[in-house]
Structures are given as structure tokens and as C-alpha cells.
Subunit: 258 residues, 6 copies
Amino acid sequence: DFQNALTEVRPAFGATLENFEQALSGGFIDYGLPVTHLLQSSHLFVQQLSNSTRSNLMTVLLQGPSKTGKTATAIKMAKESGFPFIKLVSPEKYVGFSEQSKVLSIQKVFDDAYRSSLSIIVIDDIELLLEYVPIGPRFSNSVLQCLKVLLKTPPPKGRKLMVIGTASRQDVLDSLELTESFTSVLTVPALADEDSIKRVMLETSLFTPETAQECARLAVIAAGPNGIGIKRLLMVCEMAKTEEKVTPQAFQECLRLV
Amino acid sequence: DFQNALTEVRPAFGATLENFEQALSGGFIDYGLPVTHLLQSSHLFVQQLSNSTRSNLMTVLLQGPSKTGKTATAIKMAKESGFPFIKLVSPEKYVGFSEQSKVLSIQKVFDDAYRSSLSIIVIDDIELLLEYVPIGPRFSNSVLQCLKVLLKTPPPKGRKLMVIGTASRQDVLDSLELTESFTSVLTVPALADEDSIKRVMLETSLFTPETAQECARLAVIAAGPNGIGIKRLLMVCEMAKTEEKVTPQAFQECLRLV
Amino acid sequence: DFQNALTEVRPAFGATLENFEQALSGGFIDYGLPVTHLLQSSHLFVQQLSNSTRSNLMTVLLQGPSKTGKTATAIKMAKESGFPFIKLVSPEKYVGFSEQSKVLSIQKVFDDAYRSSLSIIVIDDIELLLEYVPIGPRFSNSVLQCLKVLLKTPPPKGRKLMVIGTASRQDVLDSLELTESFTSVLTVPALADEDSIKRVMLETSLFTPETAQECARLAVIAAGPNGIGIKRLLMVCEMAKTEEKVTPQAFQECLRLV
Amino acid sequence: DFQNALTEVRPAFGATLENFEQALSGGFIDYGLPVTHLLQSSHLFVQQLSNSTRSNLMTVLLQGPSKTGKTATAIKMAKESGFPFIKLVSPEKYVGFSEQSKVLSIQKVFDDAYRSSLSIIVIDDIELLLEYVPIGPRFSNSVLQCLKVLLKTPPPKGRKLMVIGTASRQDVLDSLELTESFTSVLTVPALADEDSIKRVMLETSLFTPETAQECARLAVIAAGPNGIGIKRLLMVCEMAKTEEKVTPQAFQECLRLV
Amino acid sequence: DFQNALTEVRPAFGATLENFEQALSGGFIDYGLPVTHLLQSSHLFVQQLSNSTRSNLMTVLLQGPSKTGKTATAIKMAKESGFPFIKLVSPEKYVGFSEQSKVLSIQKVFDDAYRSSLSIIVIDDIELLLEYVPIGPRFSNSVLQCLKVLLKTPPPKGRKLMVIGTASRQDVLDSLELTESFTSVLTVPALADEDSIKRVMLETSLFTPETAQECARLAVIAAGPNGIGIKRLLMVCEMAKTEEKVTPQAFQECLRLV
Amino acid sequence: DFQNALTEVRPAFGATLENFEQALSGGFIDYGLPVTHLLQSSHLFVQQLSNSTRSNLMTVLLQGPSKTGKTATAIKMAKESGFPFIKLVSPEKYVGFSEQSKVLSIQKVFDDAYRSSLSIIVIDDIELLLEYVPIGPRFSNSVLQCLKVLLKTPPPKGRKLMVIGTASRQDVLDSLELTESFTSVLTVPALADEDSIKRVMLETSLFTPETAQECARLAVIAAGPNGIGIKRLLMVCEMAKTEEKVTPQAFQECLRLV
Ligand SMILES: Nc1ncnc2c1ncn2[C@@H]1O[C@H](COP(=O)(O)OP(=O)(O)OP(=O)(O)O)[C@@H](O)[C@H]1O
Ligand SMILES: Nc1ncnc2c1ncn2[C@@H]1O[C@H](COP(=O)(O)OP(=O)(O)OP(=O)(O)O)[C@@H](O)[C@H]1O
Ligand SMILES: Nc1ncnc2c1ncn2[C@@H]1O[C@H](COP(=O)(O)OP(=O)(O)OP(=O)(O)O)[C@@H](O)[C@H]1O
Ligand SMILES: Nc1ncnc2c1ncn2[C@@H]1O[C@H](COP(=O)(O)OP(=O)(O)OP(=O)(O)O)[C@@H](O)[C@H]1O
Ligand SMILES: Nc1ncnc2c1ncn2[C@@H]1O[C@H](COP(=O)(O)OP(=O)(O)OP(=O)(O)O)[C@@H](O)[C@H]1O
Ligand SMILES: Nc1ncnc2c1ncn2[C@@H]1O[C@H](COP(=O)(O)OP(=O)(O)OP(=O)(O)O)[C@@H](O)[C@H]1O
Ligand SMILES: [Mg+2]
Ligand SMILES: [Mg+2]
Ligand SMILES: [Mg+2]
Ligand SMILES: [Mg+2]
Ligand SMILES: [Mg+2]
Ligand SMILES: [Mg+2]
């Protein structure tokens, strides 16, 4: 029991590292201003939290359309903080859990964090965590209330905690009055201009500069004003490579299929 | 227990083969372009998944009206992939299951697949799996959320997984926001032109070329603009055969009854 | 246990025979065309199922207004098939059952049928089986989904199964999307013409030809355009007999009371 | 166990007699035509059921406004039938029962009745039995479905069963589609004319002929077109008696209070 | 067990006396006509119930706005009856009870009363007992139905029972169709005229005749046409006393705060 | 057991002190009239409760917009009362509790208070305690009813209890009819004028008088007519300090982010 307690107190950094790698399987490409802005804000939060003598809880919501890189950004922020305790709360760990077990499990992650002086908890895909479905609408109120309370509860004296949540349906979080439980809300945008898209393409080394130019043009047209998420863009690129490089024809074909 | 573990790891190809045969009891008839297109797209997905170094999850939804051959097409695609692990998740296996057991059972199929390097999981009749009924509407949110999460979770490093789902009510899947959980959506159409219908009829060897021509004309009229599903067409043909061959009168009679 | 298994496999024809007799307590009167048509269609289905090499499942829905003889017709069809395994799934067997036990019990009937080469399952009073009530509306979705799946699952190779369902509220079955789970839908009509009604009366041997004529006229007027179900008609006749025969006065009185 | 079985088979007439007496605590007053008509119809049903060779189930619904004497009429009918087995299914026996136990308990009453050759079951206050409340509306669907099925299930061969139900909200039973489960529906009316009311008053021996006349006039005015139920009328009379007899002043006062 | 039975039969008068005293902590002030009328009606009910040979159940609902003295009036009526068995059914005894235990516990109070020849049961704060909330609306249907049935069930022969209920939301009880379960409904009004208010004030001995006059005028203005409940009035008086007596300024201040 | 009882009776003042400190982490700044008014009212309630011979329960609701200092004010009031027993009922203690356990746990806090002669219970964040969510709306009716009853139940003779609740959504408490369960309702306002804001800033010693003036102006503009809560204001100040003091630029930047 005592042994047990010891283990629980030790920050579980290593254990969760693998998930982090998978979330960053497409690397972390600096395609322009939005990326810079997100990382700078994050830096500011981390610095303030570290230095503050009064407040010891900081909660940030990363939100943006589907497949725009929210999860990867959250992981990136967490890693760059240099905080020793980082934990990922992610829906795939709770498949088949009862509401009750889910709540207890989430609470345990926070309790673990409260034992470390500097911690970050990433809560990924909040809508899925809440089992939200627009018909009804239905969702787990237990999990919702658990999050609302934990997002408001400061850690014990001497501990600092940063929480980063990700969500793709702002209207849902608003209607659940969960957005206002975060102290800050940052947006992860889709890519809508040729330049950003080309920069992403070139980083994949699947394009020559010329085809990158051409394909970026095609992507902008296909994506329209809403833009294309970086996750989807990388998937199309990957799928369109035939030998080593991508041809505009293959790229256009794959844009339709995926 | 150790023995047990061993068995579970070994791909269960043989066990599910029989279901596959039953789903293809009417053969797989190449009646024209739609068939070609479906098989080609599937081929592309399989190839990309096999070769890709970055992405290791591909999810396709086959959707189309009732009795158009969705299940048979999914099985066909799975068999043609040459992947060694193929599993069929089908509502008839879950009659009388609680939501909880259903979720655990589906999750187990995925866990098994994660142990094989190249796997395909066919999730048949998604509306039935969700116990969807338009009054309410009611459905199993646990199963829905389980699918949403599993369709988003990449298998462990070094494993490749393709998921093929079938569904006949696109509006339902849309309203449940499940369609967008698939990376690709392909349509399995009904037959609406004389030519395709005739080609199916001739393949059954229940028609002379002349009666096929005549009956195809009758079928097109009866089916109207929505067309007739290949499954229903084959059933009418079978029922209309009196001795060995079908007569137009018997065919027309059976079109009304079935 | 082995003994047990043996008993279960043996077709339980005798056991259910008594229910069949009760459902036909009013005999089976051929009052004209609708009766002929129903029995002929049934004959065709049976023949086709017996001879077919490809399809081995046939599902028919008998629907019509209250008390028109749906149950009796279903039993009649089942008995005339000559199939050795006939089972009746009827709501009265499930009073006080939980949804779960009901589903398991229905599934067991099908499993038993799958063990016989030629089987018929009559599912009587589907609305009651579903515990449907228009307020809400409420119904057992578990039982509904169980029926939907079982009506779609073909028996194992080499087995043939015919399912006959009865229901009196087509709109309900439509709204539950259950009608389309049957391959055929046949209607059992109410009696609305003097001639059919008279033929039924004469078969009861409670009427002289003259009173039959007179009472049939009264019944047509009382019944109106919707007609009168054969079950109710037989009940009124029975109730109106004072000594041995029925008088028009007594008949008219009873038409009001029942 | 065998002893047990024996006891259960023996008709439990005596046991329930006390309840019957309480329900008839106000006697059974023949105040005119409605009473005659109700008893005559009941007589006809009993006679028909006893003599019939074909039908062995008769189900009657007594419905009418609150406090009009439905329960007393049902008991009166049951007692006059001369049937040896009479059982009362009444909500007060089920306070604190779960839905499940209620259903099982009701079913047991029917099973007992099936063992007797001539039985009557009175199902009193059906809305209360169903725990119906207009807000929602809410009610026990299990009990409702149990009643629907039992009201349709004929007793075994050689047994005769009459069921008499009472209910005061016809619209409720209609909306639950329970009215149509009865073969006959009879109405127990409120008293709206001076003559009937006076006849009831005189039977109580609390009035002189003159005060009866006067008070009846007052009651008609107070009751209005909807009339006054016999149960309420008897309560007002009882309450208005000061010494031995009632005065019009006291009567009017009590009409206001009760 | 026998000992147990004995104890239960003995009327539990003493045990509940303390609650009664607390409910009358503000005394019972005769401030005018409404008080007289309530006590007279109650007296009539008690007398009639004691003397009647036919009816042995009397049920009265005391209803009126919040804080008008309903609970105190009910207790006063019960105490004045002189009946040896008085029990208080009050929501505070059921905090944390399940619906089921609440129902069983209420039923037990009635069962105890049935063993005494003259009993009174006060059911206080019926909306709270039902856990009624207007959103939904939600409430305990089990408790509601339990009350409906118990309010209709006469005690065994030779026993007399009076039930006094209190409720402040008549619309709620009406919509639940619970009002009509009581044989009588009496209203406990708020104080809206200077005279009654002054009489209450003088009884508290916190006012001189002059300040009473002045403060009563202030109270009438503040209360408006809906009046002020006696419970709230007494609270304001108590709070406004600084030394021994109340000043108009303090009184006005406290009217705003409470 | 007896030991146990003893411990429970002893007021648990020390145990909860730490929570109190955390709630007052930003100190308690007297920024003007609203603060004075709140503390004076509280003083009056405490005095009256202590001296009264008749009433022994006082319930106050502190309500106001998000982050305006409700919790801190409630704690301040409790501490200033000088009452020996102070307990904090706060949602964070109930994460993962079932409704039932929550109710029992709250009830226990009240039972403990009833054993002390002078007690204060602070019920913080009532909406969270009720697990209220506007979609549905859904909330725990058990907890709601428990609060309603406990807020109405006076402690035993000789005990005095003050309850202070906090809530930020008055419309919610109104719609749940919970507001009216409190005898008094006080409002904790947001800061909307330059003067109050400046006074708060100066108390933090993070501003020079000049920057305080400037930043207060900026805050008033950013906050608009709804004002800014003191909790949020203090957070922005803290975040904006770079070295020791705050600059207007940093302040404005942080106003946007938090
Ligand atoms: N600047 C970047 N920001 C975010 N992701 C990037 C960036 N550069 C490259 N990526 C890659 O893009 C992918 C983003 O996928 P990610 O899962 O984070 O998207 P998401 O918005 O969380 O998707 P979903 O809406 O499905 O949850 C990752 O593979 C990541 O490695
Ligand atoms: N090209 C084809 N595509 C699909 N099915 C074919 C084709 N050629 C023949 N078939 C036969 O048609 C039948 C199609 O039935 P299938 O069960 O796949 O339809 P479905 O759309 O899944 O029906 P449902 O909507 O009822 O689930 C099978 O018997 C299959 O063998
Ligand atoms: N041609 C006929 N078709 C059907 N029933 C007949 C026929 N001739 C006689 N009958 C008798 O009529 C009665 C029909 O009752 P049955 O229970 O089948 O009606 P139902 O439509 O199932 O009623 P419900 O709507 O109440 O379920 C039976 O007693 C049956 O013996
Ligand atoms: N002709 C009569 N018909 C019915 N009841 C009568 C008649 N004559 C006297 N009574 C008396 O009138 C009373 C009728 O009460 P009863 O309980 O039957 O009414 P109810 O309609 O069932 O009331 P509720 O609507 O409350 O259930 C009984 O006390 C009964 O003895
Ligand atoms: N004539 C009177 N009638 C009623 N109460 C009186 C009377 N005179 C004095 N009181 C006092 O007034 C108070 C009435 O409070 P009571 O709890 O009965 O009100 P209530 O209407 O039940 O309140 P609530 O709506 O909160 O349940 C008691 O303290 C009682 O002693
Ligand atoms: N006069 C004051 N009134 C209230 N709080 C003050 C005051 N002066 C300083 N503070 C500080 O302001 C902060 C108020 O935060 P508090 O948690 O009480 O706000 P809240 O309204 O309860 O917030 P929430 O709506 O999130 O529950 C505390 O840190 C407290 O120390
Ligand atoms: Mg993501
Ligand atoms: Mg299919
Ligand atoms: Mg039938
Ligand atoms: Mg009755
Ligand atoms: Mg009260
Ligand atoms: Mg707070």
C-alpha cells in the first residue's frame, strides 16, 4: 500500500510519451503566423503560472474545425512547457467505461497532478469525452460536471497546474456552458491560403517546388473559404504520392476521395 | 490463460469465412461502371495503406439504399485486399446483448486487429448495430461513441487497419455525426437502367436473352427512378422461376409480391 | 444436459398445437375472394422456399384492422404449409417478462427453427409484443431491434425458414420501419359487403337463410364503410342466439353492445 | 407444495367478500332507468357466457365520472352473476409494489381464475392501477400491456371468464388504446334530475319526504348539468344530518364543503 | 415479534408532540374571520366523522400562498380534534430516502393509523413530499400515486381516519389531479388588511399600540394586494426589534431584507 | 461508537480553515459601498439570530455574475460572525459522488451543525452542486429537493443556524423555485466604475498610482456596462506584471487573453 502510494506520487512522464509521439506523427510544421501566435500565448501562460505567487491554475481551450491540428498543438505546447508532469486524458482510453468509472479515472489524473509542483493535463476531444451527440442532445452530464468542477478547483498550495483542452464544436461547448469554465480560449485555424498550404507541402518532401505550387492552388480551390485542416491536407499528400513524389493529377483525385 | 492469449493473437480468418460466403450467396456480378469504380477505389485504399509510412488507418463507409448489395460489396473488397486478418462485425451476433457487452465485444475485435500487421474490419448494417429507430429517435449512444472513437484511433506503430462500414440511411448517420468519422464515403447504387438489370439477369442463367430483355423492361418500369436493389432483383428472379426458366408473366407477378 | 440438447432439437410440433386450435375456434370460413387470394399467395411462398437453391428465408406480414382474422389466417397458412416445425410467438407468453428475457426467448425460438430443415414461425400481434403505446410513443426497442435483425438473418445453409407476422396498426409498423423488414406484406380485410357477411352467418348454422339475409343487411348498415371484422361478427352472432337460432332483433341489440 | 397447489385452486370467494361489503357500504339503491339498464346488460353477458359453446371470455368496461358508483356497480354485477370465483384487483393492494411485482400479481389473479370453470375478475380504478398522471403523461406501460394482453387471452378450454373494469377518465383509456381492448363499454352516469336524487335521499331514511323534495332541488341547482355522483351525494347527506334528520340549511352548507 | 406488534398498535402520540410544538413556535393568533372559519369547518368534519355510521374517512386539503400558516393551522386542527392518534408526515423526515422507501414509510403511517379507532394524519408540504420541480416538470409519481390511493382507501370497519394535507401551489396539485382526491379543500389566506396585521402585531408584545398602527400601515403598503403571510410577518417583527420594542424605521428596513 | 459520537459533536472548525484561506487568496479588499452594505447586512442577520428567542434559522443567498467574489464574500461573512461551527459545502468535494451519496453527505453537514449552538453552513456554487446544465435542462432533483427541505427545516430547540448560499445564475435558481427558499437574497456586483477598479488595483501593490489610473480606464472600456468581476480583475493584474509592476500595454494585452 505504501509502495503503491510512492509509485502514484512519482510523475508518470515516460508512460505517456508514446501517445505524444503518435499525435505528432506528421511533425510540427511552422506554416506561418497562427502557429507562432499559438506557441507565444502558450509560452506566456507557462511563464506567468511559474512565477505567480497568487494564482496556481491556468486553463486553456484550443478549439477549431475538424482536423486542423488541435491535438498536435496541445501536445506541442505541453512538451515545450518543460513541466515535468504531463498527462493526456483522451477518449480512446475510456471506450466501454461507465460514466462513473470515467469520472473517477479523470479525477485520478488530477489528483496525481496535484502531487507534482508543475503539471500539465491535456484533455483531448472534449465532445467525445462527453459522449456528446446532437440528437437529443445527449451527453454525459457526470463527465461534464466533473470537468466543470475540476477546471475551477485550484491545486493545493505550492502546486501549479495548467490544463489544455481541445474541442472542435464551439457551439456545443457554449451550449453546455463549458467554454466559460476555461480562463482562455485560443483558436486553431484551417489553412485557407496558398502560401501556408505550400509551406506544409514542401515540408513533407513529397513535392517539387513546382508541383507544390500547382497542388496548393488546387487545394485552395477544393477547400473553399473554410479552408482545409492540416491533418487532412497531410493525409491527401501521403495518399497522392505514387512513387516518391506527388503529381497534380494524383493529388486532385485524392482530394475528392478523402 | 497463456494458451488463451495465444489463440486470441492468431488471426481468426477461418472462423468468419462462412459468413462471407453467405453474404455472397448471389455471387458478385459485374453489371457495369459502379461495380468497377467501387473495386478500384478499394484497391487504391489498400495499396496506399500498405505502402504508407505515416498513416496506418483507413476508414471507408459504403452507403446506399436498402438491398443494393452493400454487404456483399464490403465482403468482396475485404477478400480482394489479400489482408490476412478479416473480421465481420454484424448485428446478428449481438441479439440480446446489453449495450455494455456490445461495446466490449466490438472493442475486442479492434484489439485483435491491432495485433495483426494488416487487418480489415467490416462493420455491417451500422443503423442496426446502433439499434436506431426514427421514433424518438432512439439509439445506443454507447455503441455510437465507441465507433466514433475507434474510427479515430490509429492502431499501434507498425500495424495497418482498414475499416469498411455499411449503412443504408445516410441521413441518420449524418444526424448522428458519424459520416464524418470516416475518411472516405462511397455509394452503392440501385439499378435503374435496362442494361445493368439485363446483365444481372443473364448471369443468373434463369433467363433466355429474350425474356431477360422483356423482364428488364418490366423491372425498370416497376422500379421507377429510384431503381431496384440487386438483392431484391435477384430475389424476384429466383421466385419467378417456375420450372427452370422465368416467364415475363411470373416475373411481373413476383415484382408485385416481393 | 445431453438429453436436454436432444429434446430441444426435436421439433416441438405437438406442444403448440393446442394454441393453434384455440386461434381457429371459429373455424376457417371461405367467404370469398380475399380468403382465396391469401391462401394462394401463401402457397406460392411455401413452394418457392421449398424449391429454391439460393434463398432460404421468406418473411410475410399479415396486416389488417382489428378482429379481421389475422391470427387465424396466419395459423391456417402455417398448418397448410405441411412444414414439420411450426412455432407461435405470442404476447401472452411474455406477460411479466423483462425486455431482456423476451428477446432471449424469441431468439431461442429462431435458434430452434434453424435446427429444422423446414420451419415456420408465426409472430402474432407484433404491436403487443413490442409493448407499443401511442403516448410517447413508447415501445421496447430491444424487442424491435431483435425482430429487425432476426427477420434479416438467413438460417444456416440447408435450412429453410418462413416467418409470418401479424399486426393491426400499419402506421405503427411503418413509423418503426419494421414493415420494410418483411419481404412481403398481405392485407386481411374487414367484411363490408352483404354477400360475404351472409356466407359467414350461414356457416355458423345459427341462422335460417331468411334471417341471415336480414341480419347481413343490418350488419352492413351498422358496420359502415370500414366493414366488420370476422372475429367480431362471429361474436355478435354467438351472443344473439337465444334458443338455437338468432332473431334480427336480438342481432341488432347485440351489434350495439359488442 | 402439493397442499399449496390445492389451496390455490380452490376459489377464494370468502377472502375477498369483506372488500365487497365495504364497496357497497352505501347499499345499492335502485334510483331509476340507468340502474336497471346496467344490471340487465350484465345479466345478458353472464347468461351468454354461461351458455356459449364457442366464446369463453367476456370483458366489460364500466366508465363514468368520478364518484358515480362504478365500483359498487361492478361488485353488484359480480355478486349477481352467481359465479363461484370472484376476485377484486384494486390499486390499494399494490401500494409500494414495483411495476414488475404488480404485473406478476395481476397475472396470478388471472391464472387462479383460469382454474375455475366460471370466474369474474373486477379490475377497479384502472387509471390508478396504471399510475397514470396527465403530466408527461406518465403511466406504467408494463401494467398497461399486461392488461391489454390478459384482456385478449381466452381462458383454457372449458373455463369461462368475465372481466369487469372500472375507469373514470375515458379520454385516458382511449389515448392508451385500452378502451378497445374491452368487448363492451357501459356508462355509469351522474345523477342530474330531481327525481333520481330524491329517490336516493329517501332510501337513506335521513330525510322526510318534504326535505327530500327541497334538498333534491338544491342539489340539482348546485350540481348543474354534469350532475352529482351518487357517492358524493350520499356523503353530503350523511354529513348534513345533525340529530337524526337533515335540514335544507345543513344540506346546502355541506354541499359547499364537500 | 408479538411485543413488536403491541408497540406498533399503541398510538404514538407523545413521540410526535415536539414537532407539533415547533410548528406552533409563533403561537396561534386569532386575527379574525378566516381563522374562525377554518377552525369551525375543522370542528364540523371531526364531529361528523366521529358520529357517522357509514363513512369513516375524511380528507381535507389546506392550501394557500407561501408562509401563510398552513402547517400551524393543520397542527392546530389536529390537536383540537382530541383524537388520540396524530401523526405528521413531513418532507424533512425523508431527505435522502429513495422513492420506494418513502412510499413504504408513508404507507406504514397509514397502517398504524388503521389500528387506532380515531386517527389524524397531517401530510405537510405535499409539493416537497412529491419532490415537485416545475422544470420538466419532475416529481415522484410513486409518491403521488401512493397518496392518491391512500386518500381513497377507507380504514377498516370500526376505524375513523381524518387526513389533513397542506400545499402552497394549487395549480401544481390540480395539474397532478391530486386536489380532487380530497373531499374538502380549505384556503389559508395571506393577511392583506391593516386590522388583521395589527392584531397579529399586538399579540407579539413587541409593539406599542401606536407603532403597531403605523407598522401595520407600512406592511399593507409593502405587501400589496397579495398580502403578507403570517409566518413572514412574524419573522419581520422579530427581526425588527432592537431592544425590546420595534420602531417603524427598523420595521421598514427589515421588510425589505426578508 | 461513543468516542465516535463525541468527535462528531465537536465543531470541526479547524479542519475547514484551509479552504477558507484559499477562497480568500486575493485578500478581501474594501473597494466601496457594495462591500460595506454586504458586510452590514450580514452583521444584522448574525445579531438577530443570536438574540432571537423565537426564530433559529436564517438563510441568505449571495448571487451575482461569474467571478464577482461571491465565494470570498460568503467566507468573509462566516468568519466575521464569530460562530464556532463553520462548514463549507462545495462541489469539488463531491466529484464522482452518486446523487444519493451527495444528499446523505450534505444532510450530514446539517446534522453536525444541529449539534452546535451557533453554526454557519456555506453552500458554494449551487448550480454546480445541482449539476445543472441548461440543455434539457438537467440537474439533480434529489440534491435540489434536499436543499429545499434543509433550507426550511429549523434546527432543534436551542440551536441557531445560518446558511449562506452562493449562485451565479439567478434565472436558474428562480426557475427551480429555489430562490424563494432563502429568507434573504443579496447581490454581489461586478465592478463597473473606474474608482472601485482603481482601489482594487492599488491594494495589489502591482501598480503605481498613475498606471492604476490608466489601467482602470482601460478596464472600464473593456468591461463595458456589465463590469468586470473582482476575481477576473485580480487575475488580469497578476498576469500583466512583468517584473514587479504592471505596464498599461501588458495590462491591455492580458485583458484580451483572459
Ligand atoms: N503546425 C502544426 N500544427 C498542428 N499539427 C501539425 C502541425 N504541423 C504538422 N502537424 C501534423 O498535423 C496533424 C494534426 O493532427 P491532429 O490530430 O492534431 O488534428 P486535430 O485537429 O486534433 O484533429 P481532430 O479534429 O480529428 O481531432 C498531426 O499529424 C501533426 O503531426
Ligand atoms: N455486384 C454486386 N454487388 C453486390 N451484390 C451483388 C453483386 N452481384 C451479386 N450480388 C449479390 O446481391 C446480393 C446483395 O445483397 P446484400 O446483402 O449485400 O445487400 P445489402 O445492400 O447489404 O442489403 P441490406 O440493405 O438488406 O443490408 C448478394 O446476394 C450478392 O451475392
Ligand atoms: N376466413 C377466415 N379468416 C380468419 N378467421 C376466420 C375465418 N373464418 C373463421 N374465422 C374465425 O374468426 C376468428 C378470427 O379471429 P382472430 O383472432 O384470428 O382475429 P384477429 O384479426 O387476429 O383479431 P385481433 O385483431 O384481435 O388480433 C377466429 O375465431 C377464426 O376461427
Ligand atoms: N345504484 C347504485 N349504484 C352505485 N352505487 C350505489 C348505488 N346505490 C348506492 N350506492 C352507493 O354509492 C356508493 C358508490 O361509491 P363507489 O365507490 O362505487 O363510486 P365510484 O364511482 O367507484 O367512485 P370513484 O370514482 O371515487 O372510484 C357506494 O357507497 C354504494 O354503496
Ligand atoms: N392563526 C394562525 N395561523 C397560522 N399560523 C399562526 C397563526 N398565529 C400564529 N401563527 C404562527 O405563524 C407561523 C406560521 O408558520 P407555518 O409554518 O404554519 O406557515 P406555512 O404556511 O406552513 O409556511 P410554508 O409555506 O413555508 O410551509 C407559525 O410560527 C405559527 O405559530
Ligand atoms: N471585496 C472583495 N469581495 C470579494 N472578493 C474579494 C474582495 N477583495 C478581494 N477579493 C478576492 O477576489 C477573489 C474573488 O473570488 P471568488 O472565488 O470569491 O469569486 P466568485 O464570484 O465566487 O467566482 P465564481 O463565479 O467563479 O464562483 C478572491 O481571490 C478574493 O480573495
Ligand atoms: Mg484531435
Ligand atoms: Mg447489408
Ligand atoms: Mg390476432
Ligand atoms: Mg371506484
Ligand atoms: Mg408549511
Ligand atoms: Mg465562487
